[in-house]
Symmetry: C2
Subunit: 191 residues, 2 copies
C-alpha cells in the first residue's frame, strides 16, 4: 500500500525558504543555504544522505503544490523515471502542463487517491508546504521526512503555519544523521 | 570554562507553549503536552532522558528570563542545589527576589559573564525563549539543547522569532533519542 511522504528541507527555526521567494529566486534570499549539499548535482549517493536520495527516487508518483511545480518549471514534464505527477488545483489552468504532469481539480483527497493508485506498491512523494498543510488537515499525510538543517534562517517561508490548534501527534520512526542535515521521519498518528 | 546552554522543549512546529499562556496557565492551552514525560515529578532518571536530567542538575548557575522566573514562582529561591540564579532585567524591580535569585540590570553580556564566573568549571543553564533570543543576538549562547517533541501544536509561543535575517550557523554535536522527545544539542558557530 502506497504511503504519502513529504520530503522537505527545513531550518531549525522552521523555514523552508528565505525571505521574498519568487520565480526569480525560488528559495528566497539566501535560501539556497537550506539545500547545501543536496542540490541535484551534488547530492551524495552513499551513506544516510544516499538512503534519502534513493527513497525519493524510488517513489512511484509525485503530488506537488502548483506553486512548487511552477517554480520548478514542471521538471520539464518528468520529475523522475517518468512517474506521474499530480498537481491539485482549484480550477484547471488554460494551459496543460508538460509530460507526465496533470492537474487534479476534484479535491485533495481525490488527488492523493489517484496518486496512490498510480504508484501501486510504491510510495508517493509530496512536495510543497501549502499542499503538505492541506494534506495534514485532510488527514491524508502518512509520513513527514523532515531534513533538519543546522541553521537559524531568521525569516522566510515557514513550513508549519495556520494548521489550527488541534494537536497532530507524530511518532518519530527513523533518525538518520546526514552530512548536512538530520533526516527525521515522523509518522502521522491517525486520531 | 563554563558554557551557556539553553534547555528547552519544542514541538516540531517550533512552539514552546500553547496559545494564551499566562500566569494561570504558564504553558498555554494544552501546552502541557510539551512536557509530557518530563515534569519534575515523573522525569526519567535513566537512559537518554536521564542523561539530560543529570546535565541540567549539574549546572553551576542559572540564567532565566524574568517572565519564566515569575511564572515559576522563582523556584522558591532555589532552582537546584542552591546555585545562583541570574535574571536579566532592564530596571531593578521594587521587590527583591527570594533566595539565590538576583536581578542583573547592566546588560545581557554582563549577566552571562557573572553567571559563568559563579558557575566556575560547570555549565550555565539558560531558561526562557526571549532571553535565549537576546543571547543569540549578543553572540553569548554556546549550546542549544532542543528537546524536540513529536507533535504539531498548531499555535502558541514560538521559540525562534524576530531573530533578524542574519543566518546563525549551528553544528549538531549530539543526538539522543529519548522516550518522549529527541534530544538535539547544537553548538552555535562563532562568526
Amino acid at each position: 500500500m502506497a504511503r504519502l511522504i513529504l520530503h522537505i528541507w527545513m531550518s531549525l527555526d522552521g523555514f523552508i525558504a528565505g525571505p521574498k521567494d519568487d520565480a526569480d529566486n525560488p528559495l528566497g534570499i539566501n535560501g539556497l543555504r537550506l539545500h547545501k549539499g543536496f542540490s541535484p548535482q551534488d547530492w551524495p549517493t552513499t551513506g544516510p544522505d544516499g538512503t534519502v536520495f534513493d527513497e525519493v527516487l524510488a517513489t512511484g508518483a509525485v503530488v506537488t503544490g502548483r506553486r512548487t511545480a511552477e517554480l520548478a518549471g514542471f521538471w520539464d514534464g518528468d520529475h523522475h523515471d517518468g512517474v506521474p505527477v499530480f498537481v491539485p488545483a482549484h480550477e484547471r489552468p488554460a494551459e496543460d502542463p508538460p509530460g507526465q504532469v496533470r492537474y487534479v481539480t476534484d479535491g485533495i483527497e481525490s488527488c492523493i487517491a489517484q496518486a496512490k493508485a498510480a504508484a501501486g506498491a510504491r510510495d508517493v512523494l509530496l512536495h510543497g508546504a501549502y499542499t503538505a498543510r492541506e494534506c495534514l488537515r485532510a488527514g491524508v499525510l502518512d509520513l513527514l521526512d523532515i531534513h533538519l538543517v543546522p541553521v537559524l534562517l531568521g525569516g522566510g517561508r515557514l513550513l508549519f503555519e495556520n494548521l489550527g490548534t488541534e494537536h497532530v501527534e507524530l511518532d518519530l520512526v527513523r533518525t538518520l544523521e546526514g552530512t548536512d542535515a538530520l533526516h527525521l521521519r515522523y509518522q502521522v498518528r491517525r486520531p
